[in-house]
């Protein structure tokens, strides 16, 4: 094998190790970017929607209490604005189903909310329900808690997924850093081995040839330097040997 091939292969291996580590790190980093975006798009949006639904329910509950107190205008206004807010965020959550099983949670919220809405949809002011706190606690408050609990379940599901994704991100960040670290350490070790081989198979033979030539010139000794390898160095040695034998025949033949 030629020296050029050996040296080239050494540098190529180094380059390959670093290049592939670089490509992999870039891939992992871009994956992290996508994951962060997914995290925001998928889970955070659903969590936010759930929080707003809870807020809307709380508003509706306040409005209902005002209706029970006989304040029709203020109560109705607050209940309606709560309903709008709830519907808006419900739609947002419905259009952002990303976690397995999330659809079932959304459907459950819808069913519970419909029951709740049916209860406060009927007139309260001016009926026997006005001021009837027992009726409120037996019916409306229970249904209110049911919807709220369903919304909280949705929020919890997304929070758990968010935590899982964040943990996965930590792993991915590790994966993005590790190839680089490994490549650097591997490259350092490889450089040491490469240097050792260059010294053993290139520098040492050249030194031995120099010493052989000096012995040939100064001490009139035959140039006898042989190598196990079949590369430019051994060819050079053979060439020097034949040159020396032309200049001066071997000691035994003189």
């Amino acid at each position: 094998m030629s020296l050029r091939f050996k040296i080239m292969s050494g540098f190529l291996i180094l380059a390959l190790m670093l290049a592939i580590a670089g490509i992999w790190s870039i891939y992992e980093l871009s994956s992290i970017g996508t994951s962060v975006q997914d995290l925001l798009d998928e889970n955070y949006r659903s969590i936010k929607a759930a929080e707003m639904m809870v807020e809307a329910l709380e508003r509706q509950d306040s409005g209902i209490l005002l209706l029970l107190l006989g304040k029709w205008d203020e109560g109705q206004k607050i209940v309606n604005s709560g309903d709008d807010l709830f519907q808006e965020n419900y739609k947002m959550a419905k259009n952002n189903i990303t976690v397995p099983g999330e659809g079932d949670f959304i459907e459950k919220i819808n069913q519970k909310y419909m029951i709740y809405k049916k209860s406060w949809g009927k007139p309260i002011v001016g009926t026997d329900k006005q001021g009837n706190l027992d009726w409120y606690f037996r019916n409306l408050h229970v249904e209110f808690l049911n919807v709220k609990s369903a919304v909280n379940e949705l929020k919890e599901l997304n929070e758990k997924t968010l935590y899982r994704t964040a943990s996965d991100l930590k792993n991915r960040a590790n994966r993005a850093v590790m190839p680089g670290t490994v490549a650097v350490i591997a490259a350092l070790i490889f450089s040491l081995i490469f240097t050792y081989f260059v010294n053993l198979y290139m520098v040492n033979p050249i030194r031995r040839m120099i010493s052989g030539i000096e012995d040939f010139i100064k001490k009139d000794k035959d140039f006898v330097v042989s190598f196990e390898t079949n590369d430019e160095i051994s060819h050079l040695s053979s060439a020097i040997q034949s040159l020396c034998s032309r200049v001066a025949p071997p000691v035994g033949k003189r």
Binding site: E28, Y196, N230
Partner: protein, 491 residues
């Protein structure tokens, strides 16, 4: 392959060692590629870690082969030993990479521990949830056992018997090691035959497990772990996961076979079972297992551990698993009665036969030890009598017997020292002692918090490094590592 005779005074040739160690890297690279393909087919997250490690192993493996000429000459005994020891250490390092690159539960320390545990066929794990690992990585984890087993065969059958009788006489404390008789001129062909036995046993067990209803992946990985007497299972509950008596019987049979001297096993498979059947070591090994199972069954039954059948089933599996240094589990033996735990602890120290993939002190040395004790008793009665120690009808030199006893003392000393260090870093006494014994013997599970149903995750990092070192010391039969790392011996 190996140049016989003494190598004292010969200079080691590092470039030659690097060239041969490079072949080990290429062997690892081949298996890493298979693991990467499995990972790719399952689209799991271990694909890149496995592929990148495969690439590094290939590049590091190819380069020395390009540089160092093939006709660089035969290798000396010490170079052979150095090649095996360095191959082991380098394989452990390469084996760490897929784990550490993948992340999860694998910090660098954890990854190193898992890798060393794999290659030394110990089977102790830091993983709390094994089944959370991607398939490619699970496969790689089992492969480390299998490659380690190949290393043991070469180490025990090709390197140990070839070492200089002066410098390495302790290795001959394997006693009547038939590898010395049958493979006095061990060659490439002999190793190939033994490797065929190794591969053959793996294939037969895989097929047998498939017949028992196990899935292909589980059958292959469990077979890898059984034949190498490793103990890494792809399931959190180890063999208990399958809840099948048929599976347990198949695994027990192959654990026993893997604990036997491979040379004798090879002769038996070749149609000459006499040597195997007449070997005093094999007889002792089987008898010890039988007595161990009986005592454990009695202890379990006496403590109200279910019916006789249930007690026998669990004790047989656990005793054979520990007694062959495999480390599989079908039950949590850390809740067993103290007597049954002591029986397991005895087998953790003793393990199976020399020249097998098993670890520990080995049955051969125990036979030598017991015969030495018996002779001593006889000599006390009749001080003038000349009583030779006989093994399989042949007299054993006094020096050999003494070296066997010395090895046992050194072995136990290292276990105590390692346990002492573990307690110093905060591990409780029982876990530290049994953990040290289990890693030194390459058994896997210990008692206490590192029992058969537990893991080593909670051990402090320093403790994991101590245990990793203990695994290597045990696997390399103490002297192997000492000779390679102390420069004095190199000269």
């Amino acid at each position: 392959m190996l140049k016989g005779g003494s190598t004292r005074g010969e200079k080691m040739r590092p470039y030659l060692i690097i060239r041969y160690v490079a072949f080990t890297l290429l062997l690892n690279a081949g298996f890493l590629l298979i693991a990467a393909v499995i990972s790719g087919l399952n689209s799991d997250t271990a694909f890149f870690p496995l592929l990148y490690t495969c690439l590094i192993a290939t590049l590091f493996g190819i380069f020395p082969i390009l540089f160092v000429p093939g006709e660089a000459g035969s290798i000396s005994n010490k170079e052979g030993l150095a090649i095996v020891v360095y191959s082991w250490i380098l394989s452990c390092s390469i084996g760490t990479l897929p784990f550490v690159l993948w992340g999860g539960e694998f910090t660098f320390t954890n990854a190193w521990f898992e890798s060393v545990s794999g290659y030394t066929t110990t089977g102790s794990s830091i993983l709390i949830n094994i089944e959370a690992l991607p398939l490619g990585l699970l496969f790689w984890r089992s492969v480390t056992h299998w490659i380690g087993g190949i290393g043991i065969i070469i180490f025990a059958l090709a390197v140990l018997p070839q070492l200089s009788p002066l410098a390495m006489v302790l290795y001959r404390a394997e006693g009547p090691d038939r590898s010395l008789q049958t493979f006095s001129h061990i060659g490439r062909r002999s190793i190939q035959i033994l490797l065929r036995v190794y591969v053959g046993l793996t294939l037969v067990e895989t097929v047998a497990l498939l017949f028992c209803g196990m899935g292909l992946f589980d059958a292959i990985t469990n077979s890898f772990a059984t034949i190498a007497t490793g103990g890494f299972s792809p399931r959190n509950m180890s063999i208990a996961h399958y809840g099948s008596i048929a599976v347990e019987i198949v695994v027990m049979v192959f654990m026993i076979l893997s604990g036997m001297n491979f040379v004798l096993l090879f002769e038996a498979i070749s149609g000459k079972p006499r040597a195997l059947l007449q070997s005093s070591t094999v007889r002792y090994y089987l008898l010890a297992l039988l007595i161990g199972v009986a005592l454990t069954t009695l202890s379990l039954r006496g403590s109200g551990f279910g019916s006789w059948i249930k007690a026998l089933r669990y004790s047989a599996f656990q005793v054979i698993s520990i007694g062959t240094s495999t480390g599989f589990a079908t039950t949590d033996s850390s809740i067993w009665p103290p007597f049954a735990q002591l029986v397991l602890l005895f087998f953790t120290f003793q393990c199976a036969c020399a020249s097998s993939t098993s670890g520990g002190i080995k049955a051969d040395r125990m036979v030598l030890f017991l015969k030495s004790v018996a002779r001593r008793v006889k000599q006390e009665r009749n001080p003038r009598a000349v009583i030779p120690i006989r093994l399989d009808g042949k007299a054993v030199e006094d020096g050999m017997a003494n070296l066997g006893v010395l090895y046992i003392c050194l072995y136990v000393g290292i276990v105590f020292f390692s346990a002492g260090l573990l307690t110093a870093v905060g591990v409780d006494g029982i876990s530290a002692f049994s953990g040290s014994a289990a890693t030194m013997g390459n058994v896997g599970p210990g008692l206490g918090t590192v029992g058969s149903a537990s893991y080593f995750a909670h051990i402090p990092s320093a403790g994991k490094w101590i245990l990793s070192f203990t695994m290597l010391v045990g696997r390399l039969e103490i002297y192997g590592l000492i000779i390679c790392i102390i420069p004095f011996y190199r000269r």
